[in-house]
Symmetry: C2
Subunit: 343 residues, 2 copies
DNA sequence: TGGCAATGTGTATGCGGTTCCACATTTATA
DNA sequence: TATAAATGTGGAACCGCATACACATTGCCA
């Protein structure tokens, strides 16, 4: 039902004003099929005069395309995601798509609700930063012919994915620490249920053994990627009898939390203990000391994810695409050569 | 054109499987009008069996509602916005709406492009963090019967708005500094073309005069709300012959930039010069010293903006709504009592 | 000059729903 | 028991657009 208090014009009115049929108007507007120069001009003029804007919902009905993609992530408020979102949005809007934002809080229930909603909205694709293992939700989408690409968080080989090489990143970080002379390196991991976390741990572990540094299980504690958990993880570490001169946190937020805990306990970063983060979020460059970290190309991840999902729509039968981006070591002030005794 | 390789069921198929007409199926599915208990059950069962999901685009065609709102802002990557985006999304999704994200970069051209796009998509409402004076764009939307509410950035009395009291906030900040004994307080403003910036300047200015502190024009320099501009503004300030013991930056990003410049020039924050920010973004609590600032209720702004825009849709003729939230002083480590001589 | 391809245009149909309305049944009321 | 009201149901129109198809008209070539 049209809103009676406003006058939005339809293609019928445009056609009428231009003195042609809707078919011709449609062709002129879409620049498709045969239209005489004269007709086209008159339709375009009429459209402009009436301030005509197509109703894309109506178009979607016939075309089957909505030119909409969804970005489903745990929380935009997590400083890792805005850049990803921006990358997605930039590529999408450049290509005529718009993006729907969905925050799941890593909550399976919310994820399911969004999946249902996105199916009803007939979005063309979804970029999914899954937080819980949710193959069934992904396949609900793909079964409807919706293109899905995962960002950052892997989920087996079920669908396209763009991520950075977490193992390589953790290797980079750990080797940096080893290169600095550290031989007791603690690790604050993310939730071990996430492939991302497992891979970073793997990189940490492998760097240790290949660097001839012994791995001490007591030196790894699990966090949840939030600042507070980094803080608490460090308090745990400090309470243990074992010693370390460096700590590698699986993300920057936890690294900052760890730095705070260290400071509160009277330790000096980086001389007493070096700390290394992961992600290179904005915060990393303004802490004191400035945080050494490994940068993920966040914007590019989003951008490429959007590119991938759009490519997938055009070619549903293509083989699985996997884009593995390379992380980059960013050395700042929170990591220096080992000096003092272990703490 | 249906995608031939997938089987998405329609209400016709549901009706057929349930052995009723589409009209009845529709009523059963929407719980509207008269439907016998038996029919309803059979329709619901058929829907479930077929994994039926309504096509909301088709529904929009008749109902004229898309249950979609757009959030148009300069850049999600600006740490101020993710929280408001989250607020918007939370309220919206709780009420059955989904939100489209648009980044304009404060670029009039992009704004116009998005406005056109949103008109074509027939969104029900848009939440607009305008960056350039763009009354014409706003009225293009409202003329189409689209509800518009401004967040943060004002634009005269053209439409609904939710913002925080910038004058009050700047008063809070400046009075805090004055209360600490500072009598030469520099000000790094935002772009003076924005009402937001003007208001914060106004609060700064008014606090000065009412606090019996003389206002020195040379002590205010204009930035662009980015960190780098805060850095450069401070360099400017340092180069001038005038002296100051405190600086109030119109947002946290610029405050951090200013702190960096100060530090580089050998000044100690807060003892040599106190620095005060605005916004209370995440970064503010992890700088060293931790930044004193005035907090805006960002999440609430988004949440209330969504509430307001939805209310407006239901009641297009209601009188203008203006929601003025109160900012809050957050004192951390970057501001202390004046001690040394002016710099 | 005939015939065929290239152009241009309009009618009608369908996309997937909702809803008005006409038509049955029941049920309640006088 | 006659009648009115409540309850169920389906046919068909319509939302705004795209497009298949039929039907002109024109241009070109043999």
């Amino acid at each position: 039902m049209r809103k009676w208090w406003v006058a939005i014009s339809t293609i019928y009115e445009v056609a009428q004003k231009a003195g042609v049929s809707v078919a011709t108007a449609s062709r002129a507007l879409n620049d498709s099929g045969y239209v005489s120069r004269e007709s086209r001009d008159r339709v375009l003029a009429a459209a402009k005069a009436l301030d005509y804007h197509i109703n894309v919902n109506a178009r979607s009905l016939t075309s089957g395309k909505t030119y909409t993609i969804a970005l489903v992530l745990p929380d935009v408020t997590n400083p890792f995601f805005p850049a990803v979102a921006r990358g997605v949005e930039d590529y999408a809007s450049d290509n005529g798509y718009c993006v729907i934002l969905c925050n799941t809080d890593g909550n399976a229930r919310k994820e399911s609700d969004y999946v249902r909603m996105l199916r009803s909205r007939k979005v063309d694709g979804v970029i999914f930063a899954v937080s819980v293992a949710s193959k069934s939700r992904v396949s609900a989408l793909t079964d409807d012919g919706i293109a899905v690409v995962l960002v950052d968080r892997d989920l087996g080989d079920s669908c396209d994915i763009v991520k950075t090489d977490n193992i390589a990143g953790a290797l980079l970080a750990t080797n940096h620490l080893i290169g600095l002379g550290h031989t007791s390196i603690a690790f604050i991991s993310g939730p071990m249920s996430l492939a991302t976390s497992q891979e970073r741990f793997r990189g940490y572990h492998d760097a240790l053994v290949s660097g001839g540094v012994s791995f001490d299980e007591r030196l790894v504690v699990e966090g949840d990627f939030r600042m507070k958990s980094g803080y608490e993880a460090m308090r745990d570490l400090l309470r243990k009898p074992c010693q370390f001169t460096a700590v590698f946190a699986a993300n920057d937020l936890m690294a900052v939390g760890a730095m705070t805990a260290l400071e509160e306990s009277g330790f000096h970063v980086p001389t007493d203990v070096a700390v290394m983060g992961y992600d290179d979020i904005d915060i990393a460059s303004v802490t004191r000391p400035r945080l050494s970290t490994v940068a993920q190309p966040k914007y590019e991840m989003g951008w490429i994810a959007a590119e991938t999902v759009i490519r997938r729509m055009c070619n549903p039968k293509a083989s699985r695409m996997e884009e593995l981006l390379q992380p980059m070591l960013v050395v700042r002030d929170s990591t220096v050569e080992r000096r003092g005794a272990s703490v």
